[in-house]
């Protein structure tokens, strides 16, 4: 694998502008790093070494530090998520409310195993730790929105997403 500082940026000019913006948002550029990586995850649906290497350049940080952050946080993936990234909470309250059943329901309905993306790139699903919606257990997160009190029906309804 060769990921030496890419000569061509893996980002569009607009994306480069956004990244540069994160370096200026806070009193110190480093404070924008996690937000910048959130943007990258949003654009690429994953964080590749090439993308992280470019972010390291933009932030003037060692690449191993940026790669450490990119592999540490669960929001960031090193596999390409679906356009719709579905998270199923399996924290205790959601588990008590039957999240295990919802796992098989997601697998059956979307037709892929956990952390796998459908062939058309539309969906992927994964279990997530507590989403902070225990009163609406079992909770689902679809992209960055909460879908509370998930049922088999609400999972089937995911398929209507564009």
């Amino acid at each position: 694998m060769s990921v030496k500082a890419p000569t061509k940026s893996p980002f569009t000019p607009e994306q480069e502008t956004t990244l540069a913006g994160w370096t200026k948002r806070y009193p110190h550029s480093n404070l924008g790093l996690v937000e910048a990586l959130r943007s990258v995850q949003g654009w690429h649906r994953q964080i590749t070494p090439e993308a992280a290497a470019r972010v390291a350049e933009v932030f003037d940080l060692p690449f191993n530090r940026v790669w450490g952050v990119a592999t540490f946080f669960p929001t960031f993936t090193q596999w390409k998520t679906g356009r719709h990234r579905v998270g199923l909470c399996h924290g205790l309250s959601c588990w008590l409310a039957g999240s295990t059943k919802m796992e098989s329901c997601l697998e059956k309905t979307l037709g892929v195993a956990e952390k796998t993306t459908t062939a058309d790139g539309k969906f992927s699903w994964e279990t997530m730790e507590c989403l902070g919606a225990c009163e609406q257990a079992p909770a689902l997160q679809v992209n960055d929105r909460l879908v509370g009190a998930a049922t088999e029906a609400s999972v089937v309804k995911l398929k209507d997403l564009k």
């Binding site: 806070y26 009193p27 996690v34 959130r38 932030f59 730790e129 507590c130 009163e135």
Partner: protein, 418 residues
């Protein structure tokens, strides 16, 4: 009963500045900006306000450890910890989405006392809706001269910056939160120095929870003594519980500090119909459960501690008789192993080992030695690690094994649910 934080929750558009101000919002800020900073600090001390993010540390005492500007010149920061991620805890989410200005007002008061010109709200990334609510609220406040330069014409400058996390539970621990903010892995620091002395970018930094800061306008408005009287000795004010699990009406409820467990349960409709109480996790899944015999204990930091567990962040999960203690313990230990940051060995290895042993036991392959080994491993983690996450790995397994020994014995002797 006096409601403090949720008093206006029935108002449909409470999250809008106009509604908030109509109901008296930002009056406390105006009052605060006319008072000497030391006077507000004294009120906060008098109020017996304690950190409501889990640790229960007295807020006034925390603030007074920030070195004065003449000793340590340069910037200082206030950071709102809105990274609640512990299973069972969701009160901060509700506070932010229903009443963002209450938090902003509280943050501004704290920033005034501490002398912070740049304050932060660090919110967990999963709370995108709440992030947007805060963004909008801050916009409104900025336009109304409540945030930014020369706030309310009183010569105080303070900007508030939003920042999102990226899905790690450990980021909710103050020093790991600061590391995350600085663009590093969320590996907790080991004080000393404490963040109030060297926090964000090594500058004095106060990290306070959403609920704690949301209390401030009310303390400034009504006085520390008033607030102290709402609670119990050494812990003033009210308490938000986010209740979930096997109850009829899960949700966020506000009680006077020291409410009886029985009454809190009743407010949430009690154990779900047709079932019996097995235990109540008082403060989030890191805290071992209270039992039926504990129904009359008072829910405040010190009383819950005396009962052998912790009030934590008030994330209450009710378990009925259908919950098997081995499965519950496995669910929690799996969570902790997943969220262990990996920095120190006992937590990294011990949490995963505990999860694996429990997994084997759940599959019916337990051996009698596991009954000795599980709590032993736990004991070898707790108190010997860098941060509180590791401590809870041992606390949880020991907590469930001592409270529900039969569930474990049955599972190990015949592979059956207890």
């Amino acid at each position: 009963m006096t409601l403090v934080l949720t008093k206006h929750f029935a108002e449909p558009k409470l999250h809008e500045l106009e509604t908030y101000r109509r109901l008296g919002g930002y009056k406390a800020l105006e009052k605060a900006l006319g008072l000497p900073r030391a006077a507000i600090l004294e009120e906060v001390k008098t109020s017996n306000l304690r950190g409501l993010g889990g640790a229960g540390f007295p807020t006034g005492m925390k603030w007074s450890t920030v070195p004065p500007e003449d000793k340590v010149p340069g910037p200082r920061y206030v950071v709102v910890n809105c990274d609640e991620s512990e299973p069972g805890c969701y009160k901060d989410r509700v506070l932010v989405e229903r009443d963002p200005h209450q938090l902003i007002e509280g943050l501004l008061i704290a920033s005034y006392v501490i002398g912070s010109k740049d304050s932060f709200i660090f919110i967990r990334g999963e709370y995108q809706t709440q992030y947007e609510i805060l963004e909008k609220a801050l916009d409104e406040a900025r336009k109304a001269g409540l945030v930014g330069k020369d706030i309310l014409g009183k010569g105080f400058d303070c900007d508030i910056l939003l920042m999102r996390g990226a899905g790690a539970y450990i980021s909710g621990l103050d020093t790991a939160l600061l590391e995350t903010m600085e663009g590093k892995k969320a590996w907790p620091r080991q004080p000393p120095p404490f963040p109030t002395v060297a926090g964000l970018m090594a500058k004095p930094t106060v990290v306070n929870n959403v609920e704690t800061l949301s209390m401030l306008p009310h303390i400034v408005e009504n006085g520390g003594e008033w607030f102290a009287k709402l609670g119990v000795p050494k812990s003033g004010g009210t308490l938000l519980l986010s209740i979930s699990g096997h109850v009829e009406k899960p949700g966020v409820y506000e009680f006077p500090m020291g409410v009886k467990l029985r009454d809190a349960l009743a407010a949430a409709g009690g154990v779900r119909a047709g079932h019996k109480l097995k235990g109540v996790i008082p403060g989030g899944t890191s805290m071992p459960p209270l039992m039926e015999k504990d129904l009359d204990i008072a829910l405040d930091f010190d009383s819950v501690r005396a009962a052998g567990t912790f009030l934590g962040a008030g994330g209450m999960i009710v378990l009925d008789e259908t919950a098997d203690a081995v499965e519950v313990a496995h669910n929690i230990e799996r969570f902790l192993a997943h969220e262990s940051c990996g920095q120190c060995t006992p937590c990294r290895e011990g949490s995963f080992w505990t999860e694996e042993i429990l997994e084997r036991v759940l599959h019916g392959d337990g051996v009698p030695a596991d009954l000795e080994n599980l709590p032993r491993v736990g004991e070898n983690i707790t108190g010997r690690v860098i941060c509180a996450l590791g401590d809870t790995v041992g606390m949880v397994i020991r907590g469930y094994m001592t409270r529900y020994p039969d569930d474990f014995k049955k599972r190990i002797s015949n592979g059956q649910k207890g």
